[in-house]
C-alpha cells in the first residue's frame, strides 16, 4: 500500500440548513488515481473542495506528504492543484496567461516569471495540446478548448496532488482519451489524482472508487472489485449495470423494460 496523500477525519459540511457531508473519513493513497462517483447532490464536489481546503468544514483534513510542520496557503497551493467544474470568467486572458496563473504559488507577490515558470507552462500547454493556440483569448474558445486551457493551468502548478471536478465536461471523446493518457502519465510520475466524474465507464479506469450518496461514503474500494460495482449500481438505483467488455469495465444503462 502506498503512503497516504490525503486523510480526512470525520469531516462534515453544512451549506445553509442542508447537511451536505456527514462525518466523512477517507484515506487517499499517493501515486494512485481515485475517483469519486455518485448521483447528483451526493456531495462529491463538496468533498473534493473540502479536501482542497476551499470551504469551511468541521473535522480535519491532513496531507501527510507535505513536509512543512504548519503549511502556509502557498505551501498547500504548491502541493495541491485544483480544477473546478465549469469555471467561467477570465474571458479576456489568453490561454498562455491563464496557464501562467498556475505558477502563482511558485512566484513572489511581485516576482516576474522565471525560466522554470515558462518551461512549466510550455510543457502543460503542450501536454493538453493547447500550445499552438496559446495566444487566443478564453472567450474565443469552444467549451472543449477552454477546458483544455484550464487543465493546462492546473498542470502548470506541478503539484503532487491534483484534484479535478468534472474535468471531462465539454471534452469530445478523443480529448477524453487524451485526458486519460495525461492522468495515467501523472500517476506514472508518482502524482496523486482525485477526480469527480459522471462518466462511470471512465471512472472505472481509475485505481480506486469512492462511492457516495446523501453526503456519506457508501463504499471505497478497487475499481475491479465486484463489491465496488455493486455499490455503484446501488447508488444509481440499479439503473446502470457494470459489465466487462473487451477487457474493460463499462457502465451500461439498465432500463426497467430490460429487466
Amino acid at each position: 500500500m502506498n503512503p497516504l496523500a490525503i486523510q480526512t477525519q470525520s469531516i462534515s459540511v453544512e451549506l445553509g440548513l442542508r447537511q451536505v457531508l456527514s462525518n466523512v473519513s477517507i484515506n487517499i493513497q499517493s501515486a494512485k488515481w481515485t475517483n469519486i462517483v455518485g448521483p447528483n447532490g451526493a456531495g462529491k464536489s463538496t468533498l473534493l473542495k473540502a479536501m482542497a481546503g476551499l470551504i469551511p468544514i468541521k473535522g480535519e483534513v491532513f496531507y501527510p506528504t507535505i513536509k512543512a510542520l504548519s503549511p502556509t496557503l502557498k505551501d498547500k497551493a504548491r502541493h495541491i492543484s485544483w480544477l473546478g467544474q465549469n469555471q467561467m470568467g477570465a474571458d479576456d486572458l489568453s490561454v498562455y496567461d491563464v496557464a501562467m496563473l498556475g505558477r502563482i504559488p511558485h512566484r513572489g507577490w511581485l516576482g516576474s516569471a522565471g525560466e522554470e515558470d515558462r518551461s512549466a507552462v510550455e510543457s502543460a500547454l503542450k501536454v493538453t495540446q493547447s500550445w499552438d493556440w496559446r495566444d487566443r483569448f478564453l472567450k474565443d474558445l469552444s467549451g472543449g478548448e477552454r477546458q483544455r486551457a484550464l487543465l493546462a493551468r492546473a498542470l502548470a502548478v506541478k503539484a503532487d496532488i491534483l484534484l479535478m471536478d468534472e474535468p471531462l465536461s465539454n471534452l469530445d471523446p478523443p480529448h477524453q482519451v487524451d485526458w486519460l493518457e495525461i492522468v495515467k502519465s501523472l500517476i506514472g510520475q508518482g502524482k496523486t489524482v482525485v477526480s469527480v466524474l459522471h462518466e462511470i465507464s471512465m471512472a472505472l479506469r481509475s485505481d480506486e472508487l469512492i462511492v457516495m450518496n446523501c453526503g456519506q461514503i457508501k463504499h471505497q474500494g478497487s475499481c475491479a472489485a465486484p463489491q465496488t460495482h455493486q455499490a455503484v449500481e446501488r447508488v444509481f438505483e440499479n439503473k446502470i449495470q457494470i459489465s466487462r467488455i473487451n477487457e474493460q469495465w463499462i457502465s451500461l444503462p439498465r432500463m426497467i423494460s430490460d429487466i
Binding site: 473542495k49 482542497a52 476551499l54 502556509t72 496557503l73 502557498k74 498547500k76 497551493a77 504548491r78 495541491i80 492543484s81 485544483w82 473546478g84 469555471q87 467561467m88 470568467g89 477570465a90 479576456d92 486572458l93 489568453s94 496567461d97 491563464v98 496563473l101 498556475g102 502563482i104 504559488p105 512566484r107 507577490w109 511581485l110 495566444d135 483569448f137 484550464l150 493551468r153 502548478v157
Partner: protein
C-alpha cells in the same frame, strides 16, 4: 512579443491624446479659443490660464483617471463587467456628507472661500468613506462578494433617500447640491490637483501590486484560493484602494457618471490584457474621457458652461446602448 508591445503603445497613445486635449482645454475659456503663445505676453491671460484653466484641465484628467482606475478595480474585484466604482455606496455617502455640511453650516451656495471648498471636499470624502465602512459592516466583512454587492446597493439606496430628505428640509442648499450631484470640474484648483495627483500615484502603484491577484480572481474565488491567495486581506486592500480613489475623485468633482464603468470596457474593446495593464490603461482612458467631456462642457453652449456630469452620462448611456444592441445582435446570431 507583438502583444507585449501593444499595451505600452496604447498607454503612450492615450497619454498623447490626453496631452493634446489638455492643450486645447487650457486654450478654451469663456471668451472662446485663445492663442496660448499670445497669453505669454499678457499677464492677465497668463494668470487665468495658470490659476483657473490649467488646474481645472489637469484636475479633470486626474479625476477621470481615478474613476477609470476604480472602475477596472471594481469590475475585477466583483468579477462583473457592469460593476461601477460607486457600487459600495461611496457616491451616495459623499452626497449625504455634502448635504449635511451645507445644512449644518448654512453656507451660501455662492461661497468660494477656500475653507468652504475644503469643508465640502472633506465632507464628501468622509461621507464616501463612512458609506463604504457601513457597507462593510452590513456585509459582515469582505468574505462574500455577493453580500458586499447587496450591502452596497442597500447603503446606496438608503443614503440616497436621506440626501433627498436633507435637501427637502433645507431648500436653500438645492443649487449647491445640484452642482455636486451633476458633477463639475469648475471648482478644481491647485490644491485639488495636488491631492488627486498624490492619491492617483498611490492608488496606481498599489493596485498594480494586486493585478496578479485580480487575474487569479477572474477564474473564481475557489481557484484564486487554491493558488495560495489569502483572499480576505486581498479583498480588504482592494476595497480600501477603491474607496480612496473614488472618494477622492467624488470629493473634488461631485458625482460623475459612467467614466468608471465605461473606461475598462473601452480598453477591453481595443486590447485584451492582464490586469497589470488593464488597470493602468483604464485609468488613462478615464482621464481622456473626462477631459473630452470637460472640453464639450465648456464649448457646447459657450460662453455658458454645462456641468460635466450630464455629458459623461449621455456619452456613457449611448455607449452602453451600443453595447446592449451589439450583445442582442450576437445572441440573435447564435
Amino acid at each position: 512579443m507583438q502583444k507585449s508591445l501593444k499595451a505600452p503603445a496604447q498607454a503612450l497613445l492615450l497619454l498623447g491624446i490626453a496631452l493634446t486635449t489638455m492643450t486645447i482645454g487650457v486654450a478654451i475659456g469663456s471668451s472662446g479659443f485663445d492663442n496660448l503663445l499670445n497669453a505669454l505676453n499678457d499677464p492677465v491671460a497668463l494668470k487665468i490660464i495658470m490659476d483657473i484653466r490649467l488646474p481645472r484641465t489637469l484636475g479633470a484628467w486626474l479625476a477621470g483617471a481615478l474613476l477609470g482606475l476604480s472602475g477596472a478595480l471594481a469590475q475585477g474585484l466583483f468579477r462583473n463587467p457592469l460593476a461601477d466604482p460607486y457600487l459600495l455606496g461611496s457616491a451616495s455617502g459623499a452626497s449625504l456628507g455634502v448635504a449635511c455640511l451645507l445644512v449644518t453650516l448654512g453656507v451660501s451656495a455662492n461661497s468660494s472661500s477656500w475653507i468652504f471648498k475644503l469643508s465640502l471636499s472633506g465632507a464628501a470624502f468622509l461621507g464616501a468613506i463612512l458609506a463604504v465602512s457601513l457597507t462593510l459592516i452590513l456585509s459582515r466583512g469582505v468574505q462574500h462578494t455577493l453580500r458586499l454587492l447587496l450591502a452596497g446597493i442597500i447603503v446606496g439606496v438608503v443614503l440616497g433617500a436621506l440626501t433627498s430628505l436633507t435637501i427637502m428640509l433645507d431648500p436653500h442648499i438645492i443649487q449647491t447640491m445640484q452642482s455636486f450631484l451633476l458633477g463639475t470640474t469648475s471648482f478644481i484648483d491647485w490644491d485639488s490637483v495636488s491631492l488627486m495627483g498624490l492619491v492617483w500615484i498611490i492608488c496606481t502603484a498599489l493596485t498594480w501590486t494586486f493585478s496578479r491577484a485580480l487575474d487569479a480572481l477572474s477564474l473564481g474565488e475557489s481557484t484564486a484560493n487554491s493558488l495560495g491567495l489569502n483572499l480576505p486581506p486581498v479583498r480588504a486592500g482592494l476595497i480600501a484602494l477603491l474607496a480612496l480613489a473614488t472618494g477622492t475623485a467624488v470629493s473634488q468633482t461631485g458625482l460623475i457618471a459612467f467614466v468608471g464603468l465605461a473606461s475598462p470596457h473601452l480598453v477591453r474593446s481595443i486590447i485584451k490584457v492582464t490586469h497589470n495593464w488593464l488597470l493602468l490603461l483604464s485609468s488613462l482612458m478615464g482621464g481622456v474621457l473626462l477631459l473630452i467631456a470637460d472640453l464639450a462642457a465648456k464649448w457646447l453652449i459657450a460662453p455658458q458652461e454645462l456641468p460635466v456630469g450630464p455629458i459623461t452620462a449621455v456619452l456613457g448611456g449611448l455607449y452602453l446602448l451600443r453595447l446592449m444592441l451589439s450583445l442582442n445582435m450576437n445572441q440573435e446570431g447564435l
